[in-house]
Symmetry: C2
Subunit: 103 residues, 2 copies
């Protein structure tokens, strides 16, 4: 479907991709996490996007996550806020960013 | 207005009143806080209530809070999640519940 293509493009084109909601403080928190690491990210605000609900359905099919935020790093699905925080603490996010830095 | 009356009734009739949203994990967290203290609460889920948006406008006029969750204890406005957590840590919630327990 066209929406699946859109979602995949966002994931492929951005080192860090956050599917988010402007009204959600947990989504805001995950963005602040990347800001605090000085890591740039791209975010798609589903509540402010046309077909936001349909995009969220596509995301579910892709990720099995029903919620926001959903985070991808280097096209790898990290998951929700909890999983992202855990990955950060375990140094996994840093690792993902480094490995592809040496093309 | 009729909605103001409704909101006030919820506050007056419940020792702990939480204005909430079923989709919001921060709202879920504030409820868990009261559960962990074995304190019963009443919650109104604005996303599942008719006129939920209008009720939220009324809540703003009353509380100056634009967000959810919003917590009242013994008809006293505690505020949002952060303020509620802080009040809990400072023992203020416990205090409010005790003072009125001795009628
Ligand atoms: N534990 C999850 C919580 C995710 C969650 O509950 N997200 C909520 C917003 S805070 C949500 O997407 N609710 C709407 C839905 O589930 O469709 C995390 O760490 O991100
Ligand atoms: N710091 C606040 C955060 C409140 C907040 O941002 N709430 C969000 C949901 S998590 C909200 O109500 N967004 C919709 C709105 O502001 O209308 C708290 O401790 O509760
Ligand atoms: S909507 Fe409240 S934390 Fe996500």
């Amino acid at each position: 479907k066209d929406l699946q293509f859109k979602i995949q493009a966002y994931i492929d084109k951005n080192t860090v991709m956050i599917f988010s909601n402007t009204a959600c403080s947990l989504s805001a928190k995950v963005k602040e996490l990347f800001k605090s690491m000085s890591i740039p990210y791209c975010s798609l605000e589903l509540d402010q996007t046309e077909d936001g609900q349909k995009l969220q359905d596509v995301l579910y099919e892709l990720t099995m996550e029903t919620s926001v935020p959903i985070v991808f790093v280097q096209q790898k699905q990290i998951g929700d806020y909890d999983k992202t925080l855990k990955a950060h603490k375990e140094g996994k996010i840093q690792k993902l960013l480094e490995t592809k830095g040496h093309d």
